[in-house]
Symmetry: C2
Subunit: 131 residues, 2 copies
C-alpha cells in the first residue's frame, strides 16, 4: 500500500538522522509547528524499538520552539489516524492563535494573530543545540 | 493559583507511583481512554527531568490498550492548553468511533459504535505487565 510519508519527506526537512526527520509543517497561523517523522514505516510508538531516541528528538523540537517562540504552551501529539506512519506534531501554541485553548484540530475560534516565522536555519541550530 | 490536577486525581486512578498516576478518562464513546498525569505541577515535558520515565508509563498504557482493545490506532497527546499541568491522553481509536479519522477534539462525525469497556483491574494488570 502506498504511504505518503514513505514516498516523500512530508515537508521541508530541517534536520534528519537515520531514525527520523524534522520537517516544518506548513499550516497557516502556526509558524512554530514542527513534525518529527520516523523514517521507517512504523505505526505505533510501541512498534518502535528506538522510541526513547525518537522522543529525545521530539523534546529537542519542544526546546527549540520554546527558546525561539516563547509560546504559552507546547502541544505534542502522535495521532496518525489518516496517515498511519509514525509522526509527531510539535506545536507552539499562543493564547491569540486560531484555536487556543482548544486543540488545533477543533473548529477555529478566531483569526490567528500574525507572528513572524523563525528561519529554518535558526530552528535547525536550536534543535541541534538541544539534542 | 488553583489547579484541578493538583487539587484532585483527575479521575479514577487505576495505577500510580511517586511520579505520576494513570486515570481512566470518562469520555462517552471512548472506553479505551487513559490519562497519565504528572503528580507534580509541571507545565511542559522539557520542564520534567523524569520525562523518559513518564513516557515509559505512557507507552505501557499504549501497550495495555493495544492488548485489551486491539484498536485501529492509538493516539497520544500532551496538550494542556486548558489545564497546564502535564498530562497525556492515551486513546484507543477505532474506525467506527465518533471522530475517526479525525482527532477526538474535532467535531464528531457519527455516533460511536458501542464497545464494552474493560475493567479497571484488567487495565491495571496490563499496564503493570507492560512496565
Amino acid at each position: 500500500m502506498s504511504c505518503e510519508l514513505c514516498d516523500s519527506d512530508g515537508g521541508a526537512v530541517i534536520w534528519r538522522d537515520d531514525l527520523c526527520r524534522v520537517v516544518r509543517a506548513a499550516v497557516d497561523g502556526y509558524p512554530g509547528f514542527l513534525r518529527v517523522i520516523a523514517n521507517r514505516h512504523v505505526k505505533e510508538m510501541t512498534d518502535l524499538a528506538e522510541r526513547e531516541r525518537l522522543m529525545r528528538v521530539v523534546f529537542a523540537c519542544e526546546s527549540a520552539l520554546r527558546q525561539l517562540y516563547n509560546p504559552d504552551k507546547v502541544n505534542l501529539a502522535s495521532l496518525g489516524n489518516v496517515v498511519p506512519h509514525l509522526h509527531w506534531h510539535v506545536i507552539a501554541r499562543f493564547a491569540d492563535d486560531a484555536h487556543f485553548p482548544d486543540a488545533i484540530w477543533a473548529a477555529a475560534r478566531r483569526t490567528a494573530a500574525p507572528r513572524p516565522p523563525m528561519t529554518d536555519d535558526a530552528l535547525a541550530r536550536a534543535i541541534m543545540a538541544a539534542l
